[in-house]
Amino acid sequence: MRHHEEEPTASPYVEHAHAHVVPLRVYVIAYIALLVLMGGTVLAYYKHPASTLASNVIALAIAVIKAVIVVLFFMQVRYSTRLTWVWAAIGFIWLIILFSTVTDYISRGWIPIKGWTP
């Protein structure tokens, strides 16, 4: 049961509603970090245009870091409840499952099968 300790004189509503206000400073830092990473990824593209594993990994790694910054700070998951963490993570866990189906494409040529030509 819900119980009320004292008369809500000041404003418990304001306190409740403002439980998860993220300071503005966090958004500014996150935004600057995103712009720096954005510059970095374009710079890396022009500086290392050769298609190597490293250049691909750099481009994607920067994208992942940017996405994590947006999800944690702009979307405030960093300051949210455990349940929100689970929900936010579950979509990306699904992506891992989805992308693991690529193993089918990779492994098809491993065992020669009669009548199947790649």
Partner: protein, 233 residues
């Protein structure tokens, strides 16, 4: 407006939490329900965008040189500008949510309007990019022609480059559709805020719109390097 809300008959006393729905125990529970509900929707979004990213991965692995050649037809500068525009809109959206939480009406409205301007700018730039593709006959279909005029890259089969543009239009098109939907949601939100509607008195509708908008931003964060920044020779 608080006196008006207090007169509405309720199943239990609402005391100071005038924005607490009757079905919730307290504000924490209500907030969590909002956020988890929105994330459930976003997970379904991740699912169908994920399938498109998988299709992209498959075809890029099958035809790496084709993807390298075809991506030269995309304008890195416009793509980079659009990325900055979208990141900025995400930032202003976060500010609008912050203002909604701290009941700062002017900043809330300003942040929303700025976000909408950024969304429009994104769509206009995207429109120019697409128009150029139509002009160069790079839109998949019967009018598709490869290589385009002035193409100086390596010789690659035309049909496979068409696959690149199929994926490009499908994914950026779906993303642009999300931007348009976000824009419409923000218009509705702005009208309700300007009318002082009780629907948006609590900050959660703005925060929900923010979550959606940041998600759209995250999708573009991946689309940009995957289409515009393919490393090649």
């Amino acid at each position: 407006m608080s006196s008006e809300a207090a007169e509405v008959p309720r199943f239990r006393p609402r005391e100071a939490d005038e924005d607490l729905g009757v079905q919730y125990e307290d504000m924490e529970q209500q907030n969590e329900s909002y956020i988890v509900g929105m994330w459930t929707f976003l997970v379904t979004e991740i699912m169908f965008f994920g399938a498109l990213f998988l299709a992209y991965l498959t075809y890029r692995t099958l035809y790496p040189s084709v993807f390298m050649a075809a991506h030269y037809e995309l304008d890195v500068k416009l793509g980079a500008i659009n990325t900055v525009v979208l990141l900025t809109s995400s930032f202003s959206m976060a500010i609008a949510v912050w203002a909604a939480q701290t009941k700062n009406r002017a900043i809330e409205i300003g942040g929303l309007i700025f976000t909408m301007i950024c969304a429009c700018a994104f769509l206009v730039i995207k429109g120019f990019e697409w128009a150029a593709k139509f002009e160069h006959r790079l839109v998949p279909g019967p009018l598709y022609a490869w290589p385009p005029h002035g193409y100086a890259g390596p010789v690659v089969p035309g049909n496979e480059t068409q696959m690149f543009f199929c994926l490009y239009f499908a994914m950026t098109g779906l993303h642009a559709l999300h931007v348009i939907i976000g824009l419409l949601v923000m218009i509705v939100l702005l009208v309700l805020i300007l009318k002082d509607s009780p629907l948006v008195r609590y900050y959660m509708p703005v925060e929900m719109t923010g979550l959606y908008w940041h998600f759209v931003d995250v999708v573009w964060i991946f689309l940009f390097p995957l289409y515009y920044l393919i490393p090649s020779h």
